[in-house]
């Protein structure tokens, strides 16, 4: 099987400012189906830019991008929109939920635009199921302004999942979360990955990167390291460790 993501010598130069910014400088990369990749690097190293290119939100200045065997640099606006809708799920760095729109409606949104037609009931059920996966089905009727940052992040993940994408792209999905919630979100990702979804995520934290199968490091728009994770963390065991640590803290807390 061909790799689900294949980029060759891809460049992105922002011409908007006074000086052009060469954010991505010739990245070549293949990601196999079922892979689970963490993209790391310093702030400003081009992680979000690369993610936007992978997510078909932005077009590369140079280079080729084959997604699932299709050369997306040749596609028009509407075809790209369909690819984003059907093949990709994107979790933005800022959550980018629609304000004054309930969690459930935010999750339903991609299903409303797709070429596939669903009944209202199917849409509702599927969105509810995705909220359930991220553990937010209780808060389905809350507006983003009524949810914490972590909860908003999980709504954004549910929205990215709703059209059953082949590749899930997440830009710092645990950036705003505490250790426990981060582990929970990584648990969700590991479960999805076990079910066959390819995941590419950006993170700053090494221990989060250890939940993944492969780590990439970007520096100044160039890929400087690509290695597979040897001592992989698993969400279930990590959560157990956390629980026992908390229980111990509670015991000591009760004594004093």
């Amino acid at each position: 099987m061909p790799p689900v993501v294949k980029i060759e010598e891809i460049h992105k130069i922002y011409e908007s400012g006074e000086v052009p910014v060469h954010a991505v400088r010739g990245v070549t990369l293949e990601i196999e189906r079922g892979d689970f990749v963490a993209l790391m690097g310093a702030s400003g190293s081009g992680k979000s830019t690369l993610m936007n290119l992978l997510g078909c939100l932005d077009r590369p200045t140079r280079g080729r991008y084959l997604l699932d065997g299709i050369d997306v640099s040749q596609l028009d606006r509407n075809a790209l929109a369909d690819i984003r809708n059907q093949k990709l799920g994107f979790v933005f760095q800022g959550f980018n939920l629609l304000a004054r729109t309930t969690a459930l409606e935010n999750v339903e949104l991609p299903m409303l635009y797709g070429a596939r037609k669903f009944t209202t009931k199917q849409i509702r059920e599927r969105a509810m199921h995705c909220l359930d996966i991220v553990g937010l089905s209780q808060r389905f009727d809350h507006f983003p302004s009524q949810l914490s940052g972590g909860q908003q992040q999980r709504v954004a993940i549910a929205r990215a999942l709703v059209n059953e994408p082949q590749v899930l792209l997440a830009d710092e999905p645990t950036g705003n979360l505490d250790t426990r919630t981060s582990a929970e979100v990584m648990g969700v990702f590991q479960k999805l990955n076990d079910e066959g979804i390819t995941i590419v995520m950006v993170t700053h934290e090494l221990d989060i990167a250890h939940f993944c199968k492969r780590n990439l490091i970007l520096r100044d728009g160039v890929l400087v390291r690509d290695e597979s994770v040897s001592n992989r963390s698993f969400a279930a065991t990590e959560l157990e460790k956390l629980s026992s640590a908390e229980a111990a803290a509670k015991l000591t807390g009760a004594k004093s």
Binding site: L57, N78, A81, N85, F90, N96, L109, Y113
Partner: protein
């Protein structure tokens, strides 16, 4: 995206800024309200004129003495009485498809009865006159052909004259003195109201035309001839035949008469009100245009405000056409809701005008439908530019927009 979802999103966006939506729609509300009110008042006036024309009678043709143009000088109708009783008799004899003829002579006289006097129009007519004008006799009877032949001193009086001179008591059988000649009252006409020129048609006394010419006005000419055609189908033919008969009788002299049928009279009478209606509607349309520009302005503001939302929708797979549709429908809902409110307002205010001023108003279904369709179209037209602007946004730029 499905239509239901688009409508839901559009309504929600409009409700979020309720005050702004109302103010934006106000331009359309006032525009449509003005159109409906103006057209209703105009239509009311037109309907009134048409009713008055209809009150002339069914399929009536009138021959006026005097021509529209004679030797460069154009006299008004009836400016020179040149028609004769022989003309009327010739028409009755030679033209087929006629059911009634009445030669007419008119003047104003002081009439006396019951010790009271009253200045009124005294009209010499034939016994066919009430039938031609579809004018009923309220009590008593019309004079007869025998009365015309014998130049009888008999009359039939209008409702106003009856009210003025015989306030209590039945006028039928009593005597009315015209120019000091006693006329016996045979009947009283039903009320007919005002005519096209605002004259009270009930303020009249009918006498046989022969009696008018020989005993009162002492004229040898008549001023007009009323003819009733058998049906609307033959009216053109009858009109042509009358013209032919009269022209023949004048043996090559310049025609000194004018033949007009009711339809032509109605057209002349409604021409002004129609022009008025058109003018008022044009002014109202301008305010609709201004309302449309208001919608465009607010939609542009809305697109800018919601750039991020548009970016999110595009990023998760909305096509440009989905975004276009959404904003177009939002503008259309805004303008057509404004249209509906405007229609209600227009109907309300025209009813109010009719109530306060006693003007006749007529709200036509056509004007309501046209106003609604037009207001929706205004929203679509002026919403298109902002909607297209939204649809052409680049998803990544829109997402970065602060």
């Amino acid at each position: 995206m499905r239509f239901g979802s688009i409508i839901k999103v559009a309504l929600r966006a409009l409700l979020r800024n309720t005050m702004r939506s109302i103010l934006t729609a106000l331009g359309i509300i006032i525009g449509v309200g003005a159109v409906i009110a103006m057209v209703s008042i105009g239509n009311g006036a037109k309907a009134q004129v048409e009713a008055q024309v209809a009150s002339l009678g069914q399929n009536v043709i009138t021959v006026f003495s005097g021509s529209m143009s004679s030797g460069g000088m154009r006299g008004g109708w009836g400016s020179a009485p040149t028609l004769t009783i022989e003309d009327a008799e010739a028409i009755e004899r030679e033209v087929t498809g006629i059911v009634g003829v009445s030669p007419e002579v008119r003047d104003r006289n002081q009439v006396l009865a019951n010790g009271l006097n009253w200045n009124t129009s005294v009209n010499g007519e034939s016994p066919d006159y009430p039938d031609i004008r579809s004018w009923k006799i309220a009590s008593g009877a019309m004079f007869s052909d025998q009365d015309v032949r014998s130049v009888a001193k008999v009359c039939v009086i209008g409702k106003t004259v009856a009210d003025q001179l015989f306030a209590n008591g039945d006028p039928v059988g009593q005597t009315l003195r015209i120019r000091n000649i006693p006329f016996k009252i045979l009947g009283v006409l039903d009320s007919k109201g005002f005519n096209l020129f605002g004259q009270d048609q009930d303020d009249a006394v009918l006498v046989p035309y022969t009696s008018h010419m020989k005993r009162l006005s002492r004229r040898t000419n008549i001023s007009s001839i009323l003819i009733q055609a058998a049906s609307a189908d033959v009216i053109d033919k009858v009109q042509k035949d009358i013209t032919e008969v009269l022209t023949q009788r004048r043996k090559g002299r310049e025609p000194d008469f004018t033949v007009r049928n009711q339809v032509e009279l109605a057209q002349t009478a409604t021409a002004t009100t129609q022009t008025m209606t058109l003018l008022l509607a044009a002014i109202a349309s301008v305010s609709l245009l201004v309302g449309g520009i208001g919608i465009m302005n607010i939609m542009l503001v809305s697109v800018t405000e919601r750039t991020r939302e548009i970016g999110i929708r595009l990023a998760i797979g909305a096509h440009g056409s989905d975004v276009l549709m959404q904003f177009l429908i939002e503008a259309t809902i805004l303008s057509s809701l404004g249209g509906v409110i405007g229609i209600l307002l227009g109907i309300g205010s025209s009813q109010l005008v009719s109530h306060l001023n006693g003007w006749p108003v007529l709200v036509s279904t056509a004007s309501v439908v046209i106003a609604f369709v037009f207001s929706a179209a205004v929203g679509m037209f002026f919403g298109f530019y902002p909607a297209r602007k939204a649809a052409q946004l680049d998803p990544i730029d829109a997402l970065r927009y602060e």
